[in-house]
Symmetry: C3
Subunit: 348 residues, 3 copies
């Protein structure tokens, strides 16, 4: 059986450098783990994103804390930094369990077409298939049960998790991460009614995914009918999201879990779709827009819009409507009593 | 490495015949690709579903256009047809990349039970398993990583995409297409509370899927508790749709992405569920009904209903409510000022 | 080809004992099948959860019926029981098709790391992989195409259906059932904005799933950033549900299809989330709470809450609002005519 990994022992001074922060305290303090502030033990490092969290810290047992710059004094060693959350992410990288490097890298129970091109340092795990004409870039890790369709190109340093399906003729950039169960390049939902039956529109386009995109689990991204469905570089997609055919999403956008984007909608860069929100098809969503949880967009949005509700409206307007709704039953009562009084006046 | 497929060169006259349209212009015009109207290049054919699209066409570089019958004159060759979208679908078929025919058809790394029955011309790709007693009809293509459970019967000319799971004792018709990650025949969600715990109701029924059904990616269709969950012939289901146990869906219905149909609901033929809509369980939805995006049905629907909202109401009524909602904050203000005035009257 | 299983022939007296009910009628009555009340045939047993269902039973062709205790007389043999639904579940178990015991139990086309520990009576089907350091408990059934990550521990008597992914370092209890396409332990959705790009927060925690948990198809349960995402013993999760990182769900809760629980929310025991409902992150939902279909919780809930709507409110309040909404368009008209009349008064 595999031996458990030995616990790391890192001097705090080293972590401060990695975290790009200023160390206050003994740089030889040994850190052996990371933890949430309320669960930290001796030897752990934790973090506080703002000053308030630091105030009640006396009970916390962490040996060191990453804090924002406005924290100047603490009862224990600290790393002061402009962005504690980012600094803590850097420290989490240090404590991330290392993935064992499989040997041999290309597992004999994988099925690689002789017509596929496999880069340097590629790992392919058992029961994965790479079809004819596919290209896998250097250093990419393809876990078990993955399907890479014919003519599909995957860039370098990607990580494709188990049981992902990437259909034929897709184009995946570098440093892309696709989590389990996701499907890239499935046929778009396109039918035309003919003699009472739904006739299939062939879906012969592809999907293009930019560099540094992260795709969650059980995400579905349909290929274009013709042309390309596009996910811009740096965009991050959460679990169970649907992206319809011919959708184009700009760079560095966020799509939270269970979002649905209907066909042919264009989304600008830096947009944020909160959980279970969506859009109808053929829209244009300006860059930097935010769609609040459950919001559904039915009209084009200007850059920098912040909308919510069904149909989506400016968020402030929606908040007023929501607040008004709670008064609605009482409103009906008030109107009724007013009508009664006025009716009395009218009779006079 | 695989050679790229040569670009097709099809005379326009041939495409007009396939599209069942009337050619206006040189039948020898060579068409080598298909494109959207705003992205077309020289050599492409594109389409316009109605006359308006044709008006601003002078910038379009396509060599030919599929147009409706009311377009009589154009600056380039055209195919006039009753139904441009359908005609264009036929042309897309011509330009669809051909799927290579694997050799051998049954891959040695597939796992076929000796108790399974495999038809003529069946393809089974690596890492797929066909369990004991399963039957695969002629010409069906089973891609990699598919599970076909024991006693399950799949008809002829079906296409089962990678990583699909079809559980035991299901019945799939002919010309059915099931996309990646979908699960057919999972246990329905049935429990009975006993001594504070949820006791599982065994789910011993099956799923029956009619001919020409298309099922998207990551769709879940639960088997019946007892009896059958039924998807009628010609029905098309988009990605991430949930169909509960003992649901029955009529023929030629459409379920768009992220729809959820709760257990034991019966849906008539020719119904349309728009994105993220749903129903509670044990309902009857009349044939030809439309449920708008996000609508949730809580009551039986008459044939031909058109509903929206939560709970779903006649669409016109819902539109009025939505329009009224925007006035609600102002309404409260107006009612308040009216009350104040009337209160003044009252005091006099 | 596999022989069909012979039809069972069970004397009614035996079923009454299994159902923990009182037999009224001939205990030698032979029962050969189970059915819904409206589809039962001669030889079937069916059930009626309450007295009303029994009233119109004369057309039913079942040979016996499971009924509640307040049914005292019937035109055919019956099993009287305190809880007919539970009793019928016990009878369904009797009629559940037996799963063939594969031989050999560990399929030669499975890939088991020499560093994995496999219990007694474990079944592992083709194209499943058990990574280094993983532990599979006695009697657990792992169907085809499953990924069990390194250091993951699965308890005894579990059933993992085809194409499930369980990532590294997860902990699964005993008698757990995970259906096809589900993903346990995927990376949580955590990023920090740095220089205009979303920097990934490493997700180094795990997922802990208690005994007797059932997880539907295409469910995604993210691992914790640090610490654990927890699903309490006896909790049942339906299809296409999203559980974010660091969520903790108490024992014996129910999450119906397409529910979404955002990161770090704590849900008490015995809660019920109806279809397509959800919560935002970092909430505390008191034990015994019910969230109605489509409800979205934005605030902590007291124990035993019953809420619905967006944002979720006490269910009674939401019902009043929904009822009021239908009156809203008319309300605007009434207010307008009142204003006109009062304006007339004002002018005088």
């Amino acid at each position: 059986m595999a031996k458990p990994q030995p616990r790391l022992q890192i001097p705090l001074g080293e972590l401060a450098q990695i975290a790009e922060g200023e160390l206050v305290g003994d740089q030889q303090t040994i850190i052996s783990g990371v933890s949430e502030i309320d669960k930290a033990c001796d030897g752990d490092i934790t973090y506080a994103v703002n000053k308030q969290y630091v105030s009640g810290i006396s009970k916390c047992r962490a040996s060191a804390i990453v804090v924002p710059l406005d924290v100047t004094r603490l009862d224990r060693p600290m790393i002061r930094t402009k962005d504690p959350y980012w600094s803590f992410a850097k420290i989490l990288e240090v404590f991330s369990p290392e993935q064992a490097q499989p040997d041999p890298a290309i597992h004999p129970q994988a099925c690689i077409s002789p017509g596929a091109t496999i880069g340097e340092g590629v790992v392919i795990r058992p029961f994965s298939i790479v079809e004819d004409g596919a290209v896998i870039g250097d250093g990419t890790f393809i876990d078990s049960g993955v399907h890479v369709g014919s003519q599909t190109r995957i860039g370098s340093q990607c990580h494709i998790y188990p049981n992902v399906t990437i259909r034929e003729r897709c184009l995946i950039g570098n440093n892309v991460l696709i989590q389990s169960g996701s499907v890239i390049g499935s046929d778009g939902y396109g039918f035309v009614l003919k003699n009472g039956q739904h006739y299939k529109i062939p879906q012969i386009g592809s999907v293009v995914i930019g560099d540094r995109v992260e795709i969650g689990s059980c995400v579905t991204i349909d290929r274009a009918t013709i042309g390309r469905t596009v996910i811009g570089a740096g965009t991050k997609i959460d679990n169970l999201v649907q992206v319809g055919h011919n959708v184009e999403i700009g760079e560095n956008s966020l799509l939270v879990a269970q979002v649905g984007i209907s066909g042919s909608t264009k989304i600008g860069e830096g947009c944020r779709f909160a959980g279970q929100s969506g859009t109808v098809g053929h829209l244009s969503i300006g860059p930097g827009s935010t769609i609040a949880a459950r919001g559904v967009v039915f009209k084009d949005l200007e850059p920098g819009s912040f909308v919510s509700g069904f149909p989506a409206k400016p968020h402030r307007e929606e908040l007023k409507i929501i607040a008004s709704l709670r008064k609605l039953p009482d409103l009906i009562r008030r109107l009724g009593s007013l009508e009664k009084f006025v009716e009395g006046l009218r009779r006079k």
